[in-house]
């Protein structure tokens, strides 16, 4: 008997707990707590009073789907879909790529299920793999003129809409550096790898023992770090493609390629001053954001997408954060030491195989709405916190990281080189980089694994 009672007590206890939670959800759910760091900072209001965009009334009532592989803008995209529906009558269903699935896997399984999304947000390599087989030709869309430098072409045709510009480099927290140095820190004063090292040593002397945070994730190491080897060839996408071709056909020997050596020199400096030097592969992404915001570190190698994490860690929009270049050598005139890498990262592909003409038109209108309508322009910048590649968008991003990238793009202090590499590049070579980061392999082995990787590609 007693066992039964015990079971019942536990069951009813749990049920009660759930009831309480449920009720809390209903009654106090919408009270906001001013000290809550999870609370989204009050958003800039979207002005919907002016709208000169011409909607095609024939499209009203059409349903389109949008597959989103950029989890952090899910909420913003849903909001945009809603307003777009209000204005145009076209319903946009935003489908997320669920956890544990890659965008490509999701798209492939959706195509196999005969129910592909009308629009899909994908990585550039995915678009190139699918373009000629599945995508609608967007070459003649008006917005191509507004983003000329940021288009991806497959055999001279445009099959995708560049959604955003993302830039990466060494994020600094100016307040921390100012305080440690006891003087105003001028990012422009750091021009070479030696300058950077000297700065790091001063920070160490001032008590910041290990001033750099370095992510252990394979996408960071394999894509964001390593791809500097290709991208810094001449700072263009064509140059990066050329480099890769030369590595593949063996005409460029990585052992004697100066960018390879320079990259490892630069990486070694980061490695040396890494806050997680004792256990580099145990570094925690979220902790890095907290460390930078708290001033335990002064630098974090990452991109402008890291802002939500920093914000959660306590950073605010008017704090001074920005990027330093990935210093490759001691030549002040080398563009790699002056410029930040900033290029289009996510692409929107329109299905040209299954979607009806009506759906394709509605989807094209949605893309144009993002580029040309007052509301779309505002929302993509303010709500989704994206740096749009379209020149005609007058709105500036609000957070300091995106602002820095935005200004540098405007002033020509950013280079746009996207290296198009096979899809498993980041995971295979990310592993090789992890091994190097952990001190379990040397330079020779790292270079060899890069060579082996490219030798296997057709």
């Amino acid at each position: 008997m007693r066992k039964k009672v015990l079971t019942k007590v536990i069951a009813s206890g749990l049920a009660a707990t759930m009831m309480v939670t449920t009720m809390t959800g209903c009654t106090f759910g919408f009270a906001s707590d001013p000290d809550d760091p999870n609370e989204v900072v009050e958003e800039e209001p979207i002005d919907t009073s002016v709208d000169t965009f011409e909607y095609d009334t024939a499209l009203s009532g059409t349903n389109i789907t949008l597959l989103n592989s950029k989890a952090e803008i899910q909420v913003a995209l849903e909001a945009m879909g809603e307003i777009y529906e209000e204005k145009s009558g076209v319903h946009v269903e935003v489908m997320p790529v669920t956890d544990g699935d890659s965008p490509y896997t999701k798209v492939v399984s959706l195509y196999n299920s005969g129910n592909p999304p009308t629009l899909s947000i994908l990585d550039t390599t995915d678009v190139i793999a699918l373009a000629e087989e599945k995508a609608a030709d967007l070459t003649d869309e008006p917005w191509t003129a507004e983003a000329e430098d940021y288009l991806t072409r497959v055999n001279d045709r445009v099959y995708s809409f560049p959604l955003c510009i993302e830039g990466r480099g060494l994020i600094y927290n100016k307040a921390v550096i100012d305080e440690a140095l006891g003087e105003e820190f001028d990012p422009k004063s750091i021009q070479t790898l030696d300058d950077f090292k000297a700065l790091l040593d001063r920070l160490v002397a001032a008590g910041i023992e290990k001033p750099i945070s370095l992510a252990k994730e394979d996408w960071s190491l394999g894509a964001h770090h390593l791809q500097y080897v290709y991208e810094t060839y001449d700072g263009t996408s064509e140059g990066a493609a050329e480099t890769i071709e030369k590595i593949k056909d063996g005409s460029l020997d990585l052992d004697n390629y100066n960018r390879m050596t320079e990259f490892m020199d630069a990486f070694d400096v980061l490695k040396e001053y890494n806050v997680a030097k004792g256990d580099p592969l145990g570094a925690d992404y979220d902790e890095m954001a907290i460390d930078l915001a708290d001033g335990k570190t002064a630098f974090w190698f990452n991109g402008n997408w890291a802002w939500p994490n920093l914000q959660e860690a306590g950073a605010e929009n008017d704090d001074e954060y920005g990027f330093l270049p990935y210093f490759m050598n001691n030549d002040k005139d080398d563009f790699a030491n002056q410029q930040i890498q900033g290029s289009p990262s996510k692409q929107v592909m329109l299905d040209g195989q299954i979607a009806s003409e009506q759906e394709q038109k509605a989807a094209k209108q949605f893309l144009n709405w993002i580029v040309y309508s007052e509301i779309g322009q505002q929302m993509i910048v303010k709500k989704a916190n994206i740096i749009p590649p379209f020149k005609n968008n007058p709105y500036e991003p609000a957070d300091p990281l995106s602002r820095d990238i935005y200004n540098r793009v405007q002033e020509g202090e950013a280079f746009n080189a996207s290296a198009i590499v096979p899809n498993d590049h980041w995971s295979v070579l990310g592993a090789a980089m992890q091994k190097y980061l952990a001190g379990r392999s040397d330079r020779e082995e790292l270079v060899q694994s890069i060579k082996d990787y490219w030798a296997e590609q057709e």
Binding site: I10, A15, G29, N38, E72, N112, Y285
Partner: protein, 286 residues
């Protein structure tokens, strides 16, 4: 029945040792859950900086994570979807598997043998091997994805083998054929015999299979994510997707969401557990 004093003491000591051992293993088992409960009440910053402590938090404890999880998951709707799918599929697979297993045990023919062998073999097919063929058949050819009924059907099909396997063992071991023969003599049809005589005897294994199947349906992620894309139809595990960002996870909300998903099934387990145990005991007196 009275035991000698020495024997009694010895037994007491043994029981005490067993108890201590169990408690230690038990705490080790519960550790991650304790972590989940503690951290579900904390803010992200505290979770990352001091995951272990409950008392020394900067921002204090609150139910905010639960509130956020509850709203972001659209909990009530997702709960309803999960409930419909889990209940229907569990009932369906339990009934069909019991009948099929009964047929296989009582008819020792070629069809039975082949089916049973195929089923045992199928339990070791990696899901990855049939994922794409499955969606291309059901989506591309038949075009029936994005319906609850398709998911229920697939859940049923995927758990059929394991369920038949378990029922088969139980029927073979614990259902005496004599009872059925008596029923036939009394003029019962096969259907009547099965539902009135055999099915009640299967109660213990039914309880076990209900809890095991319900659990796997309730928690499954991969299959529903392939079948369902319409937001209105999402089940609980699918509805927590947004807590896992591309670059980092929203730990507090994940843990709160997790507890919200687990509690209903935990209650089911606690309620059914009594049945499982008593059922197994009575079934043991063959």
């Amino acid at each position: 029945m009275k035991q000698t004093t020495i024997g009694g003491n010895k037994k007491k000591v043994a029981n005490l040792l067993a108890m201590v051992g169990l408690i230690i293993i038990f705490i080790a088992y519960m550790f991650p859950f304790i972590m989940v409960v503690i951290n579900s009440l904390k803010q992200k910053r505290d979770i990352i900086k001091s995951p272990f402590s409950w008392l020394y938090t900067i921002k204090g404890l609150s139910f905010d994570n639960f509130v956020k999880a509850f709203t972001q998951m659209d909990f009530l709707n997702a709960f309803k979807n999960s409930l419909i799918v889990t209940v229907s599929a569990t009932v369906l697979v339990t009934l069909l598997a019991a009948m099929l297993a009964y047929y296989i045990v009582r008819h020792n023919n070629l069809v039975s043998k082949v089916t049973f062998a195929l089923m045992v073999a199928s339990m070791i097919i990696p899901f990855q091997a049939i994922m794409i063929p499955l969606v291309s058949i059901y989506g591309g050819t038949l075009n029936v994805l994005n319906h609850r009924i398709t998911l229920i059907f697939m859940h049923t099909g995927f758990s059929m083998a394991m369920s038949v396997f378990m029922f088969h063992g139980f029927i073979k071991g614990s259902v005496p054929i004599a009872l059925e023969e008596a029923a036939y003599i009394d003029g019962c049809t096969h259907a009547q015999t099965f539902f009135k005589i055999v099915l009640p005897l299967l109660k213990p294994i039914i309880s076990t299979m209900v809890i095991l199947n319900a659990l796997s349906f309730w928690n499954d992620f991969l299959l529903p994510s392939l079948v369902l894309t319409d937001k209105e139809l999402l089940t609980l595990p699918l509805s927590t997707y947004s807590f896992y960002g591309t670059y980092s996870a929203d730990y507090g909300t994940i843990m709160a969401g997790l507890l919200l998903c687990v509690i209903p099934i935990l209650i089911l387990y606690l309620v059914l557990q009594k049945q499982i145990i008593s059922g197994v005991v009575s079934g043991a007196v063959k």
